[in-house]
């Protein structure tokens, strides 16, 4: 018995020591994948370009706040995470950070004092960035971004998520990949695209599913689940691979146009993707947007034809597409406009068909297609219902300055009617998705226009 107690006590002591070590032993930073000379200098503009490609602004600038001065509330299931000030202000920003400190945050998710960053910061993806880009970005932030004194609210999550040392364990599961980029694409354009998609673009943060531990399930092109679709705050980030995915359904040029302008012949960028276009992708070169489109197109072996340019500024007449084979029956039914049609179809004719047409094809670069649209048929119905109730807006971009705006129908349609309409959209023109209930609609309506 005594021996047994001694063993128990010994194990307990060992456990405490291990826990203390886990909490207090300093975290190791990963070594750079490439050694750059100390006097290496980025090209002029390189750092700013990396900043755009990495979409730092999206999270680190608050609505109406100073550029990169933090303070944007990022909703998470565990509580609100407040983005930090990454201007070179010495007191409230990162002005005192050495390059090694900066690199530790980007690659290992660790701040200079050893605190772990919440993985809302996509260091899982930034870990793949080249040493040159990281250096250029650091250089840009330290020398070109104006220092802003802005003390942001401290993130206080509920227990146990407030214990940041727990992220150390999480990182053991999530950061199994080595820092630095490993190309697996065959052409130069696709390799460049792969780098931008996997690394700075951090597309997988939304478009890959999550594991049971909430780490990204698929970080590089060699991972099976990479970019097979995820769910963020009730919105589908659609799959970017697979026969039904947009990159396989659209031409490389159409996909590149979507990235650069938030619109193409098929779709318009809503929600988070609209912000990505606004803050990040519209600032990239045509070459890079084409490269990303080419990588996504060819990721599973499809042939890639590279367009020379995208979003030409010439005046073109873009005729709306006729109904496709899967959509013909619905188009014919709507055209006949019989008084006996279902309520959903009637509501479509009364409210939607003036812009999206009986074909469900919409009009190129203005009114998105509803047939085979991932937002319409997604597993999550909140985005579709929210857009019907509250409308939507696609921001203007440098190449396509016109803001696209759809009005909301919250005052015109009841919950039952929105449910009937949404259910119709999810089953029309060959769409095959589940019905929406009035209770679903009521929940979205109650959440208000901010969601």
């Amino acid at each position: 018995m005594k021996t047994f107690l001694r063993i128990i006590a010994g194990l307990a002591v060992l456990g405490v020591v291990a826990l203390l070590a886990f909490i207090f032993v300093p975290v190791q930073r990963s070594a750079p994948a490439t050694d750059l000379a100390a006097d290496w200098q980025p090209e002029p503009g390189q750092g700013e370009y990396v900043m755009h490609a990495s979409d730092c602004v999206a999270c680190h600038t608050a609505d109406g706040g100073e550029n990169m001065a933090g303070g944007r509330a990022i909703a998470s299931p565990m509580g609100t995470i407040w983005s930090t000030n990454i201007t070179p202000d010495k007191d409230t920003g990162i002005g005192n950070w050495s390059y090694a400190d900066f690199r530790g945050a980007m690659v290992d998710g660790v701040t200079p004092n050893g605190t772990h960053l919440y993985p809302a910061m996509p260091y899982e993806n930034y870990r793949l960035m080249s040493e040159e880009d990281l250096r250029a970005l650091y250089d840009y932030i330290m020398t070109e971004v104006p220092a802003v004194s802005n003390k942001v609210e401290e993130t206080k999550l509920s227990f146990p998520f407030n214990l940041r040392f727990g992220i150390r364990a999480w990182n053991w599961l999530a950061l199994t990949h080595e820092p630095g980029f490993t190309p697996t694409s065959s052409t130069e354009a696709e390799t460049r695209g792969q780098y931008l998609v996997e690394g700075p673009g951090h597309c997988a943060a939304c478009h890959s599913p999550r594991t049971a531990f909430m780490s990204q399930d698929g970080i590089t092109a060699s991972d099976e689940n990479f970019l097979t679709g995820g769910v963020i705050d009730g919105w589908n980030a659609p799959a970017l691979r697979g026969a039904d995915s947009a990159p396989q359904q659209w031409s490389t040029e159409e996909l590149a146009l979507y990235l650069a302008t938030g619109r193409n012949a098929h779709s318009a960028a809503n929600g988070e993707m609209g912000l990505v276009v606004e803050h990040s992708l519209q600032h990239l070169t045509d070459e890079d947007n084409i490269a990303m489109a080419a990588f996504l197109k060819g990721i599973d072996g499809a042939d890639v034809d590279l367009p020379d340019t995208i979003a030409a500024a010439d005046h073109r007449s873009m005729a709306p597409a006729p109904a496709d084979a899967a959509g013909e029956a619905t188009a014919k039914m709507l055209t006949e406009a019989s008084p006996d049609i279902s309520l959903g179809a009637r509501l479509y004719l009364d409210n939607c068909s003036a812009c999206h047409f009986v074909t469900g094809k919409g009009a190129p670069e203005i009114f998105p297609e509803l047939a085979h649209n991932a937002l319409v048929t997604g597993s999550e119905t909140k985005p579709l219902v929210s857009i019907i109730l509250n409308g939507a807006e696609v921001p203007g971009t440098a190449k396509r300055p016109m803001t696209l705006r759809m009005q909301g129908y919250a005052n015109r349609l009841s919950d039952d009617e929105v449910a009937e309409l949404a259910s119709f959209l999810r089953s029309a023109w060959g769409n095959d998705a589940s019905a929406v209930t009035a209770a679903d609609v009521a929940a979205v309506r109650a959440a208000g226009a901010s969601h």
Partner: protein
């Protein structure tokens, strides 16, 4: 990036449960809309018109678009409600009109509004003047006359035989125009109740989507109207 993705939310659980209970196969009939019936015209409390003026507007509009014969009359379409609400609103007060004058009652009609009175004041002064003429001619005010007498009196009013003061010279013109507007305007303004006039003339309302129809010659457009607020008929 405004979220940490991945955790199943309480909402998605609720949604999944609700979906299990949904009667997704049962589509509602297209015209089904349940709205409480509005207060009857007899019990209606006017916003602007007095009781006497209300009685006149009811009687006069009922002769301008009568209920007998084809289609709904002004009363079925609740035209008096439309007129009352318009007179109570910025039409009645001529809110955004140029009202400084000069006003010349003898000017050609094409010269526009030729009275310093706003429409609400034209009704307020026109109705008693016309009723006084009716008393003189038929020994009863307009609302109490037989339909045939009312038609006669309105015809006299229209032809300018009533001898109204110059400032209410256009009373009949305004009354007739307002009656037509109340009959055909979108129901949100109080008239055209249940879009009866649109159904009657085959106007499909605020649908704004007939791209397929200009080339479909000699085919009757079959679908009933929709109002601006989404009412269906």
């Amino acid at each position: 990036m405004t979220d940490i993705p991945g955790l199943p939310s309480r909402r998605s659980f609720l949604k999944a449960s609700a979906a299990g209970m949904a009667l997704s196969g049962l589509a509602l009939p297209a015209a089904a809309q349940t709205k409480p019936a509005p207060v009857s015209l007899d019990d209606y409390s006017p916003e602007y018109l007095t009781a006497d003026e209300w009685a006149f507007v009811m009687a006069a509009t009922a002769r301008l678009i009568p209920s007998e014969g084809d289609g709904p009359g002004a009363l079925e379409a609740r035209v008096p409600v439309f007129i009352d609400l318009q007179l109570a609103g910025d039409y009645g007060t001529a809110d955004d009109w140029y009202m400084e004058g000069p006003h010349d009652a003898n000017a050609e009609p094409a010269r526009g509004w030729q009275t310093p009175l706003n429409p609400a004041q034209v009704y307020r002064q026109g109705i008693p003047a016309f009723n006084a003429w009716c008393e003189e001619t038929y020994q009863a005010e307009f609302a109490a006359l037989e339909p045939a007498q009312q038609d006669e009196a309105l015809t006299a009013l229209q032809k300018g035989e009533v001898g109204l003061p110059a400032e209410v010279r256009d009373f009949f013109t305004i009354l007739l125009a307002n009656t037509k507007e109340g009959y055909f305007a979108d129901p949100q303004y109080g008239g055209n109740f249940e879009m009866q006039s649109w159904v009657y003339i085959g106007f499909p309302g605020a649908r704004a989507a007939f791209r397929e129809w200009p080339t479909r010659h000699n085919v009757k457009y079959p679908l009933g109207p929709v109002s601006i607020s989404g009412e269906r008929a």
